[in-house]
């Protein structure tokens, strides 16, 4: 009884501590509000699509930008708005709930309450949550919270596998997994998370000596349910786009005819050999000459120069880097009225691509095919660039930058964009933040970065050690969730570094999701590794 009373007291203290941290987080961010930003490929696009969804007009009228980003955030905004939850509150609430969900799983798995409180403090006071990108209508905050939910659900399923109470958590995982697949284009990397989850579950159920049939059913469900839900969601969305826009294309920037056209353009030989430039001025000139249908697009493209974003942000001054040129191509085709709707756009891109390929085949253009997707395949000669981008991303992962150093100028939103934000409950002009809270937040950044960076490095070393002794001290849920998060984060960094080789450096928000989970899991994982090491000794 005494023991139980002590446990209850400790649990109560833990709950009190967690509650205090949540309250502190809410106070700390209470003066912040979403900034209405005119960014036709990001903020204002997500908002406009949500407004049209709520009005029953699908994503709104087709233009060159409508389908350049996955629609998950617009669906989220429309959904939360329809039940009367303000966008920022929905983001805060999901982030807090996700963190608590994972933290209680780690507690249940045997993590020290006090260490967990420190980890929760690191999670809730994470400077990314009051960074510039968090206070915009961007996909990263939602994506981050969903990733934390998935990590929490995985931990709970591993814990509850033996007692048959894993199903609810598996359902949570399925929902977060399925929806995440609609939020960001690189979310397909989450299939690797699913694979890691299944491997961990197979390991855990084997260690628990679960009866064969129950084990098989659980494993099959863990494989099939998330996959089916994700594919069903994708299929439904494609049908939706087909019904309203005439083609089953969810993302017309990365699928369909546009990436094939880009591949055809970059196959044309050019003296300029730059990984960040697929569409060179020389290629444009040659194609324009051989493919008259492309001329109206080429003529509308802005010229490169020292004052362009390409020059200022990517250091590509004699050309437009891929981060802009690919969008300009779509915009120019639309402006030239060549792509007034989705089927017409697909047809136009297909015609131009076929004409380029014909010119190549006939020898009128000298061509060297280099993949058929939006990004070329990795080449050995970009090794140095790959290492540089990987290093840059790794540094971000250890300490994300909160404010991009070279910011794109903030442009006042046009009237219709302001109205769209206001329709979603976001004031066009954000009130100024409190000076006191801003001071507290600023004071937290450096210590948090330092401590969290140190912890993450220590956690990587702990991972190596834990794997080294895994055959002598079997991996249990905390170790398994730590290993899953670490391996997935490394895998994601490796793939993002490849994308950055061709698209240019990403900003820090690309690592928000893995960073948020890692700071929460690192400390319990290090403690578990230390305990396992002591057992080996």
């Amino acid at each position: 009884v005494v023991g139980t009373g002590r446990i209850d007291l400790l649990s109560g203290l833990f709950a009190l501590g967690a509650g205090f941290l949540v309250a502190f987080y809410l106070v700390l961010t209470s003066d912040l509000s979403i900034v209405a930003r005119y960014s036709p490929h990001d903020d204002s696009l997500y908002v406009a699509r949500a407004v049209h969804l709520l009005a029953g007009q699908a994503f709104g009228p087709y233009d060159s930008r409508l389908l350049v980003k996955y629609p998950g955030l617009s669906l989220w905004m429309a959904g939360t708005r329809s039940v009367g939850i303000p966008f920022l509150i929905s983001i805060h609430a999901l982030y807090i709930a996700a963190g608590l969900y994972l933290a209680f799983a780690l507690l249940k798995a045997g993590a020290s309450r006090w260490l967990l409180l420190v980890a929760l403090a690191l999670y809730l006071l994470n400077p990314i949550t009051y960074s510039e990108d968090w206070m915009r209508v961007m996909r990263e905050p939602l994506d981050t919270s969903l990733f934390v939910v998935m990590a929490g659900a995985i931990a709970w399923v591993l814990l509850r596998a033996a007692d048959g109470r894993a199903w609810g958590h598996l359902a949570v995982f399925c929902a977060a997994f399925g929806f995440s697949m609609l939020v960001r284009e690189e979310s397909r990397l989450l299939w690797a998370l699913l694979a890691l989850f299944i491997a961990a579950l197979a390991w855990q159920t084997k260690c628990l000596a679960m009866p064969g049939r129950r084990r098989l059913v659980l494993l099959l469900a863990a494989v099939a349910a998330p996959a089916l839900l994700a594919k069903t969601g994708e299929h439904a969305l494609r049908e939706f786009v087909d019904r309203h826009y005439g083609a089953t294309i969810m993302h017309d920037f990365g699928e369909g005819e546009f990436p094939r056209l880009v591949a055809a353009i970059r196959s044309v030989e050019s003296a300029k050999d730059n990984r960040l430039v697929m569409v060179t001025q020389e290629r444009l000139a040659r194609i324009q000459k051989e493919v008259p249908a492309f001329a109206p697009v080429a003529e509308r493209l802005p010229k490169p120069g020292p004052a362009t974003f390409s020059c200022r942000l990517h250091g590509v001054c004699s050309e437009w880097s891929n981060g802009w040129m690919l969008f300009w191509l779509k915009d120019a085709a639309f402006d030239a009225r060549l792509t007034p709707n989705l089927p017409a756009a697909q047809d136009y891109f297909h015609r131009v691509r076929s004409s380029i390929e014909d010119a190549c085949a006939a020898g009128r253009l000298r061509c060297a095919p280099n993949g058929d997707g939006l990004l070329p395949p990795m080449q050995l000669r970009w090794t140095r660039a790959y290492v540089a981008e990987g290093y840059r991303l790794a540094k971000m992962f250890l300490a994300p930058e909160l404010f991009p150093k070279v910011a794109i100028p903030v442009i006042d939103p046009p009237k219709e964009v302001r109205h769209a934000f206001e329709a979603m409950g976001i004031p066009a002009a954000a009130p100024p933040p409190s000076a006191i809270l801003a001071g507290i937040r600023a004071a937290l950044v450096a210590p948090h970065h330092l401590f969290a960076g140190f912890l993450l490095l220590a956690a990587l070393l702990a991972l190596a050690l834990r794997v080294w002794i895994a055959d002598r001290v079997p991996l249990e849920p905390i170790a398994l969730i730590g290993a899953i998060v670490a391996l997935y984060a490394l895998w994601r960094l490796a793939i993002l570094a490849y994308a950055a080789v061709y698209l240019g450096p990403f900003t820090s928000r690309i690592v928000f999701s893995t960073y948020a989970v890692a700071v929460l899991v690192a400390l319990p994982f290090i403690a578990e590794t230390a305990a396992a090491w002591r057992r080996v000794k």
């Binding site: 020292p306 020059c311 250091g315 050995l380 000669r381 140095r384 290492v387 002598r472 057992r535």
Partner: protein, 239 residues
């Protein structure tokens, strides 16, 4: 880095036509535009020459900054250092070396450029290399080929035009004025990455083999060795 060495040769002695190498010497005879007589003092300042090349979109290296010392008499890029020592008539003496990365230790070789034939369109450069005779003919041919690539007549003319244009902006200021104009032009072109070409321009694979080898060792061989060691270790098994 290889490109840097070739370009250095190219700066002093554009276009190799034939090479004669008695004993430990590696010698190049290079057709040179006579117009360079007007700027022969520039060869006392290899640092200014390096900046001159960069100003004309011929960067010595894409991956490191130039360090120009002693009013251009010494230039360093990556681990290569070239220093003007002095001249004896029309013979200009240099010291070219590779820093070893341990303190100030370096390996240097003397290089002599003879400009006595400049009026006749000829420059001779002699590098006194220990064991130069051991350099295979194929390697010499490759060096000559690279020098031709980077120092053809068109490139020489481009640089000459640039110098003529620049010297008109500082009439009567002499060589010092020209040197300052070169540096000033470099400064004006700075502030953006255009000075060294665009970020992301291709780097030859030949300059990346050491990196690839390092990655292979750490990300392939080292993990394999660890796994093999771990599997062979006696007593491995659950506690």
């Amino acid at each position: 880095m290889t490109r840097l060495r070739y370009l250095w040769l190219a700066v002093l002695l554009p276009l190799a036509s034939n090479a004669a190498e008695p004993g430990s010497e590696l010698s190049f005879e290079i057709p040179t535009l006579p117009g360079y007589q007007r700027y022969v003092r520039l060869f006392e300042h290899p640092g200014y020459l390096a900046v001159l090349l960069e100003n004309n979109d011929l960067p010595l290296t894409h991956s490191s900054k130039l360090i120009v010392r002693e009013r251009g008499r010494e230039v360093e890029a990556k681990n290569i250092v070239i220093r003007f020592i002095g001249r004896n008539g029309t013979s200009y003496n240099y010291e070219a070396g590779v820093t070893l990365g341990i303190g100030s230790a370096s390996v240097t070789v003397p290089v002599v450029a003879d400009f006595s034939g400049l009026a006749a369109g000829k420059t001779t450069v002699v590098a006194r290399l220990p064991l130069a005779t051991l350099i295979p003919g194929e390697k010499r041919e490759r060096i000559q080929s690279k020098v031709r690539t980077f120092a053809n007549a068109a490139t020489q003319q481009k640089l000459l035009d640039y110098l003529d244009r620049l010297s008109k902006t500082v009439p009567g200021a002499g060589f010092d004025g020209l040197g300052e104009a070169i540096l000033l032009d470099a400064y004006n072109r700075g502030g953006g990455p255009a000075l060294r070409g665009d970020v992301g321009d291709a780097v030859p694979l030949s300059e990346q083999w050491m990196l690839i080898l390092t990655l292979a060792i750490w990300f392939i061989l080292f993990p394999i060795a660890l796994i093999v060691y771990r599997l062979r270790r006696p007593g491995a098994g659950p506690a």
